[in-house]
């Protein structure tokens, strides 16, 4: 197990380097970022040259990349165009997005898995059909439509929530945005759990457990659910990274100053340091989440433990 973890960690290094290099190249292809800094008028050439020097943009891209990576190992993520260190932006943005992601994942786990178990055990019954239709509806509507609609109804028409999340973004204000962010994944989790449960319901070990005379509750939670969760855990694990990076639409709609917002700003202002810095961290989150999923397999199914 220890060797397995170390091997996985070592594999992350080339993935990390490759991913950052790709992002670096992509941001650089977009053109001259300094030109956009002065608005609809041209920067005077001397100031532009001075700024390029300060942000290291006067060097060839490969040199910029090497310098950037070198700085990265000393914890220096560079400076955004507004003079703020990128680490400061991260310190503001990541806690907010992590809170949002936690809310979303909780919804996925609690509602998604419960509905999945419920429908999986009652396949073909009216409740199953209803949930299936509902998830289909959720899956077919894009997040930003759901978000705007919910914002309009709950925030403006009925006044149940504030349409915009405040600066501190506490958990209670993130419940509705979290639900919106989770909606599509939630539907997937429901469907995945349902199929998995329905499949395993007829498995030998479930029959054995029932035959042993175990209480129904214990059969379901201990035997049936634990084995059925493997595909679901895979999905949720991969979803952590996707939710954090993909929250751009949700964060924009609900005025959440998180990672999605900073990334969007970085891209619009073509701020290499911001974009590369944030994406680098997101790549790490993805990799770690995947590692975590693989380790969780072992928890759920001892047969995989020493693979």
């Amino acid at each position: 197990m220890g060797r397995y973890v170390i091997r996985r960690l070592l594999q992350m290094i080339p993935v990390f380097i490759g991913a950052t290099l790709l992002i670096f190249l992509m941001v650089n292809v977009m053109g001259d970022p300094i030109a956009g800094l002065c608005g609809d008028r041209a920067c005077d050439p001397a100031t532009a040259a001075q700024l390029e020097k300060e942000f290291g943009l006067d060097k060839p891209v490969w040199q910029q990349y090497l310098i950037y990576m070198g700085n990265l190992f000393t914890g220096d993520f560079g400076t955004a165009f507004n003079g703020q260190p990128v680490t400061e932006l991260m310190a503001n943005a990541f806690p907010v997005t992590i809170r949002l992601t936690i809310v979303a994942i909780l919804f996925e786990i609690v509602i998604g898995i419960s509905l999945g178990v419920l429908t999986g055990l009652r396949r073909g019954r009216p409740i199953d059909t209803t949930v299936l239709v509902l998830t289909l509806v959720v899956l077919s509507i894009p997040t930003f439509v759901t978000g705007l609609l919910i914002q309009l109804l709950l925030g403006v028409k009925w006044g149940w929530i504030k349409p915009a999340v405040s600066t501190d973004a506490p958990f209670d204000e993130l419940i509705v945005p979290g639900l919106v962010l989770a909606s599509v994944s939630l539907a997937y989790v429901t469907r995945l759990t349902r199929t998995s449960i329905a499949e395993n319901k007829r498995a030998d070990y479930v029959r054995t457990a029932v035959a042993k005379g175990l209480p129904r509750r214990r059969v379901i939670t201990r035997h049936l659910l634990r084995n059925s969760l493997i595909p679901v855990v895979t999905f949720i694990g991969a979803d952590i990274g996707a939710l954090m990076g993909g929250a751009i639409a949700t964060e924009r709609i609900f005025n959440i100053h998180g990672v999605g917002y900073q990334l969007y700003q970085g891209i619009v202002r073509q701020n290499t340091q911001t974009v590369v810095g944030f994406v680098t961290v997101l790549v790490l989150v993805f990799l770690l989440a995947n590692l975590l999923v693989d380790l969780l397999y072992a928890v759920l199914d001892p047969r995989i433990r020493y693979a």
Binding site: A35, T47, G83, D168, P170, I256
Partner: protein, 542 residues
């Protein structure tokens, strides 16, 4: 693995508990009403560090307009430059100015505003090593080329044209005659700076200190700035409210939604998608007034295909092929006003606004077709109009302009839009002369002067002359106008120069942009100044 499973549920339970305890807090609506009421307003994250000479966009400009007062202040209604901190500005030759700063003004940290506060600030703004994006505003002062050379290292620390002659007086020497120069001094880049700015720059940036009617109470970058009324403010334009809270919104649609839900008092940028509903939503709490912003189509005069003799007829024809009325009505819901000259209505008749364009700005398909043919036709048979696709929803109107041209010329291939991915890329292509056809251009005035609409844009090799338009006759008239001591005569000469841009059709004027704002029932007396920035200090909380 029993333990691990327990740990998982424990974590889950903690998270739920955390979510539950976070409930029921966070109500931050303003502290009471009346003279101490706090106004909340939408804001965008400033693009550059907040320094007077480094702020060239409207979001940072809003803050500067609240925490700084300069030598001059533009009247929020008429745009006229009135003395603020200037006791008097004297000159005999339009080149050497003696400025006396009023006594009794201080910065909000108690430091006195002296002549030195101005001279130090201007020298800082001009110096190359400080990377100030508005450095060019000091370009007329003698010695600017030493502190801000076009190439190489600066050879001086301060500009030789600036001299402190007394505690409250200083002299300015310009490199050439510029009679209306004092009017430019209301621009934020010319604000005075306290010594604290120079001694602890980082601390100043995290909490700027100025001499305006407001002080910064707290500033969390990227999300919110709380400004409080400064009770020690000596000026006549004291704040009528207790303070302004500027909230950064990720999207102006969200700000608008928050306004309609009653959580926000002021939105100074009504999103285009809401213009249809805004009158129904807000009624007379919706403001829509012309601002000092003009949109034009510029031409690549550096491209030989677009710089042949006789092509002014082609450009005039294209101008006549654009149905401005229809586009401003249908696409912009009347938040743009069809242009009749190359300046802006905010200048007023006295300031030089006049229907200079005449028939050239009126839609006439037959005439357009004739003129384009006389001008040799569109180079290559097809032209593109370039714009950036990321912000500002330019696609709609560019497509409409092309449609209008195609219809007028009876040729479906005459004009197509050419989207460019990002604003930065668009600007970099524009400023490195890579445009192959007309491109969108926007100009927001720095100060309400006809000079500001013409010289930076059409003077040979001027800073924002992106199309490289040049006409010696125009340059001569501009120089003449700048040297003219009598303002009325100077304006007249500028209008003559504008006539030359018209005859050459150096750029096609499209429309003037309006400032649009909406406010809640909680506040009143909300107006926009000619720069389309709300006049915050006059807002009253009911």
């Amino acid at each position: 693995m029993r333990g691990a499973t327990h740990a998982k549920w424990a974590a889950l339970a903690t998270a739920v508990a955390l979510a539950a305890t976070a409930c029921g807090g966070g109500d931050d609506s303003g502290g009471g009403g009346g003279a101490d009421g706090i106004v909340s307003s939408s804001w965008g994250d400033p693009q550059n560090p907040l320094e007077p000479a480094n702020t060239n966009e409207v979001q940072g400009g809003k803050v500067l307009s609240m925490i700084f007062r300069g030598l001059k202040q533009y009247d929020p209604k008429t745009g006229e430059a009135k003395d603020m901190l200037a006791e008097k500005i004297e000159t005999t030759d339009s080149m050497n100015f003696t400025i006396t700063v009023k006594d009794g003004w201080t910065f909000s940290n108690g430091e006195k505003v002296t002549a030195k506060s101005f001279v130090d600030a201007w020298n800082y703004g001009a110096h190359l090593k400080n990377n100030q994006k508005n450095a060019a505003f000091f370009g007329q002062i003698e010695g600017y080329d030493k502190v801000h050379p076009e190439k190489g290292e600066p050879t001086a620390e301060t500009m030789s044209g600036l001299k402190v002659t007394g505690p409250q007086t200083f002299t300015v020497k310009l490199t050439q005659k510029f009679s209306t120069w004092p009017i430019t001094l209301g621009y934020a880049a010319f604000s005075p700076l306290p010594q604290a700015f120079f001694t602890d720059h980082a601390a100043w940036l995290s909490k700027p200190v100025g001499n305006g009617p407001y002080t910064v109470d707290s500033y969390s970058k990227g999300s919110q700035m709380a400004l409080k009324r400064w009770d020690g403010y000596p000026g006549t334009d004291k704040a009528q409210n207790g303070g302004i809270t500027l909230k950064v919104y990720t999207d102006n649609n969200t700000a608008y939604t928050d306004l309609t839900a009653g959580n926000l008092d002021l939105v100074d940028d009504v999103p285009a998608s809401q213009l249809k509903n805004v009158e129904a939503d807000l009624g007379d709490r919706y403001i829509n007034v012309p601002a000092g912003i003009i949109q034009t189509l510029s031409f690549p005069f550096y491209d030989p295909a677009w710089n042949k003799p006789g092509q002014e007829k082609l450009r005039q024809g294209l101008s006549r092929a654009i149905n401005r009325e229809q586009i401003t009505d249908t696409i912009f819901q009347k938040t743009r006003t069809p242009a009749v000259d190359w300046t802006s209505p905010v200048l007023g008749e006295k300031g030089g606004f006049k229907d200079v364009c005449g028939d050239f700005c009126k839609y006439d398909a037959a005439e357009a077709k004739k003129l384009v043919a006389e001008g040799g036709g569109i180079p290559g048979g097809t032209m593109t109009i370039s714009y950036n696709a990321d912000t500002g929803s330019h696609k709609e109107w560019v497509d409409a302009v092309c449609n209008s041209i195609n219809n007028a010329l009876g040729n479906n291939r005459a004009c197509v839009g050419n989207p460019i991915g990002t604003f930065a890329d668009f600007r970099s292509q524009v400023s490195t002369q890579k445009m192959k056809g007309p491109f969108r251009a926007g100009w927001q005035m720095d100060y309400p002067l006809i000079q500001n609409f013409l010289q930076p844009l059409y003077y040979t090799n001027a800073s924002s002359n992106d199309g490289k338009y040049t006409n010696p006759e125009f340059d001569k008239l501009v120089n003449q106008a700048n040297a003219e001591a009598d303002t009325a005569k100077a304006v007249e000469t500028f209008q003559q120069a504008e006539g030359i841009v018209r005859d050459d059709m150096g750029a096609i004027p499209l429309w003037y942009q309006n400032g649009s704002a909406g406010y809640s029932e909680r506040v009143s007396n909300v107006t926009l100044n000619p720069f389309s920035v709300p006049v915050y200090d006059q807002i009253k909380v009911n």
